[in-house]
């Protein structure tokens, strides 16, 4: 079976995207590219990257994109999410950051960003920027296993790929149980529920990306050498 390449946090960096595309081509069997959000950021103009994602060059692995936290901020601010207020605007420099974000993305891309999905379900895997609870939910290897299990349960998937934390990790639920006793007007019932064997995989962000082989369930964490990098503004 063909492997998946999972990428996130490109933040408008076309150069980084090209390096990752080149690196993926060196990997044997990688045939599907998933970009799990944060294609944009206020750090730089993102139009060139967005254009490339929408209209890949010959030889590019076709990207399958979903929206991430930064896209959500922009779409909320443009009114695509009803009366919500962009989270970033609560920051002391939020107005400036949002102005920079609006400047970084041309209008021609907004409707495309708004058309992107919250996540993909592929085989028995969920591919999401944050989690099934929220696009900004930063799942980490230190997140309570109870919360991780809840996020898996909400999607009813065996593997949940997440990008929001920027970390690369694989946390497997390997065992455990819980007793549940329910008393209602008809009587009392007790049963034991076992922990299902499921995983949460942090795919990394920016130069860090992940390969996944659905046939063998093998995860490989990779990173490309970055030729240039701009400092970010503190919004991860």
């Amino acid at each position: 079976m063909e492997r998946w390449a999972l990428v996130s946090g490109l933040r408008g960096d076309l150069d980084l995207y090209e390096q990752i595309q080149a690196d993926i081509k060196k990997q044997r069997g990688a045939a599907h590219l998933f970009v799990l959000g944060d294609m944009i950021s206020p750090d730089r103009n993102c139009d060139a990257l967005l254009t490339r994602l929408r209209r890949p060059k010959r030889g590019d692995l076709q990207p399958n994109c979903i929206y991430g936290w930064w896209e959500e901020q922009l779409l909320v601010d443009y009114g695509y999410r009803g009366d919500q207020k962009a989270e970033v605007r609560s920051d002391p420099d939020g107005a400036t950051t949002m102005h920079q974000l609006r400047e970084a993305v041309s209008q021609e891309h907004i409707n495309w960003l708004a058309s992107l999905q919250f996540g993909f379900i592929e085989l028995d895997c969920g591919l999401i920027h944050g989690s099934s609870a929220d696009v900004g939910d930063p799942l980490k290897e230190t997140t309570s296993p109870l919360i991780l299990l809840d996020r898996l349960t909400r999607l009813d998937v065996n593997r949940l790929f997440t990008a929001r934390s920027g970390q690369q990790f694989r946390l497997q639920l390997t065992g455990g149980q819980i007793q549940s006793k329910v008393k209602d007007p008809t009587g009392e019932q007790q049963r034991e529920q076992a922990v299902p064997k499921r995983s949460v995989i942090g795919i990394g962000s920016g130069e860090k990306y992940t390969l996944y082989d659905p046939a063998s369930d093998r995860v490989e964490f990779l990173s490309v050498a970055v030729r240039s990098r701009l400092s970010n503004l503190g919004f991860g």
């Binding site: 309570s144 109870l146 990790f169 455990g176 819980i178 329910v182 209602d184 007007p185 529920q193």
Partner: protein, 271 residues
């Protein structure tokens, strides 16, 4: 000290008065209400005013919220278009009749109430629209209580009273970090937590026509589910006379509900 927890009054005055009588007869003076004062039933103003008169601390339910904010939920809890139409009819009927003062009161209701390690909500700590059914995944149920920082979670919304104890839990994990080094094994012991669903005063769905609520003893931790007879026919007549859908009276007289139960109870409404 024993305290009573009531929920889902649904504008059913006869049921509410009967439950208050039952509580008073036990000498219980502390009552907490988990919302849904209105909707479906024929006496929304009377019920809201009685809650205010008795100064009962109350959370905002999904119906109370919708009356204030308008019908902007995703309607995920309606399994059919007919059910949705009836729900909308009841919403508009209630919104038309509820006084401005009573609407203002509903608007002031908090989403949660907390007393020490006891948390009171309408649906779940996540949403007034989420159903915590008794057969919900046990780990997910525990997550709702634990993430909210409670030891006992009181909820309503399902109209089915129950006490669920979640205990003896553990989760073992294996963590592989970047660098592809050896995985580390960890085990988390889960705390014992309880979910207490108060059922429904005004529209029971647990198999009988009796109004239900719960009594919790702070000292012993004991919870008893109370079932109270009331004049069901009186409320049914009032429903029909008010011009509300007859099916509301029919299902109240049978003590169950075919129509408006959520098809996918695990679904959380996203506005």
């Amino acid at each position: 000290m024993a305290h009573a927890v009531i929920s889902c009054l649904h504008a059913n005055l006869a049921a509410f008065e009967a439950v208050l009588d039952d509580i008073d007869q036990q000498g219980i003076t502390t009552i907490t209400c988990l919302g849904d004062l209105v909707g479906y039933g024929p006496q929304p103003n009377e019920v809201v005013e009685l809650v205010q008169q008795r100064a009962i601390p109350t959370c905002q339910g999904c119906w109370d919220e919708d009356i204030i904010d308008g019908l902007n939920a995703c309607e995920c809890s309606y399994p059919s278009q007919l059910a949705e139409r009836r729900g909308h009819q009841a919403h508009h009927w209630t919104a038309d009749r509820l006084t401005d003062n009573n609407k203002a009161f509903l608007a002031t209701l908090p989403i949660t109430l907390r007393r020490d390690k006891l948390l009171f909500v309408h649906g779940s700590p996540n949403s007034q629209h989420e159903y915590l059914l008794p057969d919900m995944n046990a780990f997910a149920a525990l997550e709702r209580v634990e993430t909210a920082g409670a030891e006992t979670l009181f909820c309503g919304h399902t109209h089915q009273p129950y006490v669920r104890e979640l205990s003896g839990g553990s989760i073992r994990v294996s963590v592989q970090q970047h660098g592809n080094g050896p995985a580390t094994e960890q085990e988390m012991t889960l705390p014992m937590r309880r979910i207490v669903n108060a059922g429904s005063v005004g529209e029971p769905r647990h198999g009988t026509t009796k109004a239900t609520y719960v009594v919790h003893d702070d000292n012993t931790g004991n919870v008893s589910i109370r079932e109270v007879d009331y004049d069901v026919a009186k409320t049914c007549r009032a429903i029909v006379e008010a011009g509300l859908p007859d099916v509301f009276a029919w299902r109240l007289s049978h003590g169950f509900e075919y129509a408006e139960r959520a098809e996918d109870a695990s679904h959380v409404c996203e506005r």
